[in-house]
């Protein structure tokens, strides 16, 4: 028997989808009656593969879990290993890590900005913002050798020291990016039509946010001030001065504004880091990777990524290889159960925008 509602396949081959996933929509008119998230198109079995690889070999793997923003993954694994081992990290390495994390957050926000306005139909912003993001990628390239995947942060510190004159380049790039932000404001955030499209759509209220385990900018967009960097300061975030912006409303607009304000905070954090960065070693010696036994133990570590709290649960059984590395990205909740819930009653026009504003990133759902 034919169903009454029309089935619309939103993805995997769809210009509006973020990444490779599928939302099966049942629509009546252009209103969504039921949404079903289908993931697994990107499943590479990272967690299985890590059981077969040494601790050091796992670092290139974890960074591929989240493509737009790989550094929180490396940071998480590094800190988990350090916590289990009780390994100390030099102060300089901590500062460098914070700088890399904030740079990657900025890069991710630029990409998000492109996606958010691209799905709204404003195609000039993606062109600008992805272009501007490349300046940050250039910094990464100089620092780590890779544009996208850095494999830079590892247990015991970072892979290499800052190149000569790098700090100046970072500052210059920050100046440039800061000078660009007002233009984005004019084009996107102050744009009347964008506001019309974004306000009152995809609303998550406070209770719902807590009930469904929302994290990151969507949580702060409901007015709940929660940020891992403040709650449980890792690295040197407790020594830095920044605020956690929150907005009321819980709609796409609030989430967009939270991100927009966080971009300013990130720039300021990066400046502070460069200013305060001490000298000294950039890493503590670790054993030969091929002979690196991590004592038995477990650790749950979390990092604030651009999309929210990124948690790793790492178990070691004392052998060469991890017993279990379980990754919980923010999209794990946002992309499956929450998305299915808030899409009901939404308009077809807004599906892509809602997905984008929640920061749904399929590779971290299925890994």
């Amino acid at each position: 028997m034919r169903e009454k509602e029309t089935t619309l396949y939103f993805g995997p081959q769809h210009p509006g989808i973020t990444g490779n996933m599928m939302v099966k929509l049942k629509v009546a008119g252009d209103t969504i009656v039921k949404a079903e998230t289908h993931v697994g198109y990107l499943h590479r079995a990272f967690e299985k593969l890590m059981e077969r690889r040494t601790w050091m070999q796992s670092f290139p793997i974890v960074c591929r879990i989240c493509v737009p923003e790989p550094d929180p993954n490396e940071e998480n694994l590094a800190r988990a290993v350090e916590e289990i081992e009780g390994r100390e990290v030099p102060e300089r390495a901590k500062y460098i890590r914070v700088m890399v994390l904030e740079l990657s957050r900025l890069a991710a926000y630029f990409l998000w900005m492109g996606g958010q306005s691209g799905t709204a139909g404003l195609y000039t912003v993606p062109q600008w913002s992805v272009g501007d993001r490349d300046y940050i990628l250039d910094l990464f390239e100089e620092l780590t050798g890779g544009r996208i995947y850095h494999m830079y942060i590892w247990a015991g510190g970072v892979r290499r020291d800052l190149p000569e004159g790098f700090a100046d380049k970072v500052l210059k790039t920050m100046d440039y990016i800061e000078s660009r932000l007002p233009e984005y404001d004019k084009l996107m955030f102050d744009n009347a039509i964008f506001q019309k499209r974004a306000q009152g759509i995809g609303v998550i209220d406070k209770d719902k946010a807590l009930e469904w385990g929302v994290v990151g900018p969507p949580l702060r967009g409901c007015g709940i001030k929660h940020d891992v960097r403040k709650d449980e300061p890792y690295e040197v975030y407790d020594k830095l001065d920044f605020v956690v912006p929150t907005y009321e409303g819980g709609d796409i607009w609030a989430r967009a504004m939270v991100r927009r304000k966080e971009m300013e905070q990130s720039i300021s954090i990066i400046r502070q880091v460069i200013e305060k960065m001490p000298g000294g070693e950039y890493y503590n010696k670790v054993p030969t990777p091929l002979n690196w036994f991590v004592p038995p133990g477990e650790a749950y570590v979390k990092t604030e990524s651009a999309r929210g709290e990124f948690g790793y649960y790492v178990v070691s059984d004392g052998s060469l290889k991890p017993r279990r590395v379980h990754v919980r990205g923010p999209a794990y909740v946002h992309g499956v159960s929450l998305l299915e819930n808030i899409l009901v009653g939404a308009n077809i026009s807004d599906v892509a925008m809602i997905m984008n504003s929640l920061g749904v990133c399929p590779p971290e759902i299925e890994r």
Binding site: P12, Q13, H14, P15, G19, N20, G40, Y41, L42, H43, R44, A45, K48, L49, R52, P60, I61, R64, V67, P68, L111, G114, P126, Q127, W128, V130, G131, R133, D134, L137, R147, I148, Y149, P363
Partner: protein, 181 residues
């Protein structure tokens, strides 16, 4: 009177010139390599200079870009997408994982060699390839088109049996609509 053969040659030259300079990529980010497509398409590298642009559905597209590893689940959709495209159509394998599995060589869910399942015209290696590499891959494809060597679709048609056999071996539950030529 002009020679018919000559005329068809001129038509071929025009056709190939147009095909070469107008490559529409179907919007399908199959793997993590899709993250380098926005920089390629946007202001820094601006692939539109070469007539490369995205298209929403496979019916309108010329190029299927396999951006990285293919899980079995995706492979099924990719085959479907590829078969819905109109000839002439080209496949570009993007990243090491399409060539030999890359770092997922021992994963139970990803295929290791794309050209067993789809006719690949150009491979771009790297993990992941930089935008420059992507563009150079496209230029290579353009050269092949100009020479008339980008005949992936034809190979697929001729060796359909072989491709099907490989595809069926991987995709356990083959519930695909049959491809009528």
């Amino acid at each position: 009177m002009y020679n018919d053969k000559e005329a068809s040659k001129i038509v071929d030259i025009i056709k190939n010139f147009a095909r070469k300079h107008s490559l529409w990529i179907v919007a399908y980010g199959t793997g993590c390599g899709a993250i380098e497509l926005p920089p390629t398409m946007t202001s820094r590298y601006d692939a539109e200079r070469f007539g490369i642009r995205g298209s929403a559905t496979p019916r309108q597209a010329d190029v299927l870009l396999i951006t990285g590893y293919l899980s079995v689940k995706t492979l099924k959709r990719v085959i479907r997408t590829y078969e819905q495209m109109q000839e002439p159509k080209y496949v570009i394998g993007f990243g090491s994982c399409t060539i030999n599995g890359g770092m997922y060589w021992d994963s139970y869910n990803t295929i290791k060699a794309l050209d067993r399942y789809l006719p690949v015209d150009v491979y771009i290696n790297g993990c992941m390839p930089r935008p420059e590499a992507v563009i150079s891959g496209f230029i290579k494809l353009q050269e092949l088109i100009a020479q008339g060597k980008a005949d992936g679709a034809k190979r697929y048609q001729e060796n359909l049996e072989w491709y099907r056999e490989n595809q069926r071996k991987v995709i356990k539950n083959w519930r695909m609509p049959e491809y009528n030529w």
